[in-house]
Symmetry: C2
Subunit: 224 residues, 2 copies
DNA sequence: GCCAAAATGTACCACGCGGTTCATTCCTTT
DNA sequence: AAAGGAATGAACCGCGTGGTACATTTTGGC
């Protein structure tokens, strides 16, 4: 009997990979919830099936754990992005799809958003030092760059369109929608964050991005 | 001799208002820099011309100090917004001006932005409880609402335009531009945050917002 | 089966940090 | 001018929290 893989095999007492994964999952949730200094190592430990001892055994110190949790957040989210296939669509349609997808994807990953918020509070100190994350983000705007090129070749997108600036716009809307929901809804009410409001905002955002990208005359006729 | 006001008169040893103001200024900077749990009361005290004792004397505890600092941040920023006069401009021009102004104003007040980021991390718990801030924000989108009404009356803005949703768009761009600069520039480089890049983004943002607001045919001809 | 290394449990510690106690000085009121 | 409250100073304290020492068990290699 040895039909299972290495990782699954050890279902008994000792299981390093599972323990680390367990810790990372709990840590990510705790850091995302409370920030770096707000998070308590003891709390993380208690919500784990292992002990505080093991946290320090595997991750060295609180900062080491935080860094790994941050990387885990990026990994999970970037993985979800790879599913999107846009090559078969016309440039405008592809761009619209990408914007809508990004909007929804951010919304579906609040913990990731919160980790990035926290990193920004820390001036991106840890993110900048993580080679893992830098590698991950290499290809972050590749899809968009490709769409831009195709749109320009087809003559429907403006010349001099900057993929990075466009990505900035897409990110701004998608990120803000999650990151600032608490203050925004506390001040202006929750309507925009319920289903109807979110749909309206997403449509508005798609329209705005298309307006930026498309040549003055061109605009998609079939508005679903 | 009693020509000076009450506040100015006491230039001597005892001076409650000045002490509180001193503490608040330092606290705002410290909280904006390090977040609530990251901030150290001792550090705040040491950067003050008074002592830790006085912090607790006037503000009760760390949370009380934080709340007051948050309110101070809102006060300062909202004050800067009142200067803007838009009534004499055509609706499109007024909207363009408002967007550009908001963009610049956020950029000029990073501490305020950071306090709002921190509040969002805390799910806006303290902001929601502050009557001061709720009052301040009452009139936050009045200007925009007025512009929308005028634009619709003049027939240049779309019907069914939602001022709140429009404000959302303006805020998203202006806020994200400051809040996410660290991570964004760490990943994609700093070009967009230097003078040229910022000008391009601001123009792009103004265009996008106008595209949302204006009827399909209408667009401002004089693009400065 | 035995040994060394990896993995884990238990108990503990040092100290940073939010908060306080007690005493003293300032300044207004009558 | 005396009183009494407001304002301030200096030293102190408890404990939450990040981190560790030491002992013990598990596991893979030979």
């Amino acid at each position: 009997m040895r039909s299972t893989t290495d990782a699954e095999r050890r279902g008994w007492t000792q299981n390093p990979e599972a323990v680390q994964q367990d810790i990372l999952t709990v840590a990510l949730a705790e850091f995302a919830e409370n920030g770096f200094s707000g998070a308590r190592v003891d709390t993380i430990a208690s919500r784990t099936q292992t002990s505080k001892r093991m946290i320090y055994y595997y991750f060295g110190d609180k900062l080491g754990l935080y860094t790994r949790a941050l990387e885990a957040a990026y990994l999970r989210v970037r993985q979800g992005e790879t599913q999107l296939e846009l090559d078969h669509l016309a440039p405008q349609e592809a761009l619209a799809r990408l914007v809508a997808f990004t909007f929804d994807h951010h919304r579906a990953n609040p913990d990731f958003i919160r980790m990035v918020m926290i990193e920004n509070i820390h001036k991106a100190r840890h993110l900048a030092e993580s080679q893992v994350i830098r590698d991950l983000n290499e290809a972050a705007i590749d899809k968009l760059t490709e769409i831009c090129r195709r749109g320009q070749d087809a003559g429907v997108f403006r010349e001099g369109l900057d993929p990075a600036a466009l990505h900035w716009q897409i990110s701004a809307a998608s990120f803000f929608n999650v990151s600032n929901r608490p203050t925004f809804s506390a001040i202006f009410g929750n309507a925009l964050f319920e289903d109807d409001g979110q749909e309206a905002i997403r449509r508005q955002t798609v329209d705005a991005i298309l307006a930026i990208a498309c040549k003055p005359g061109v605009r998609d006729p079939e508005n679903e």
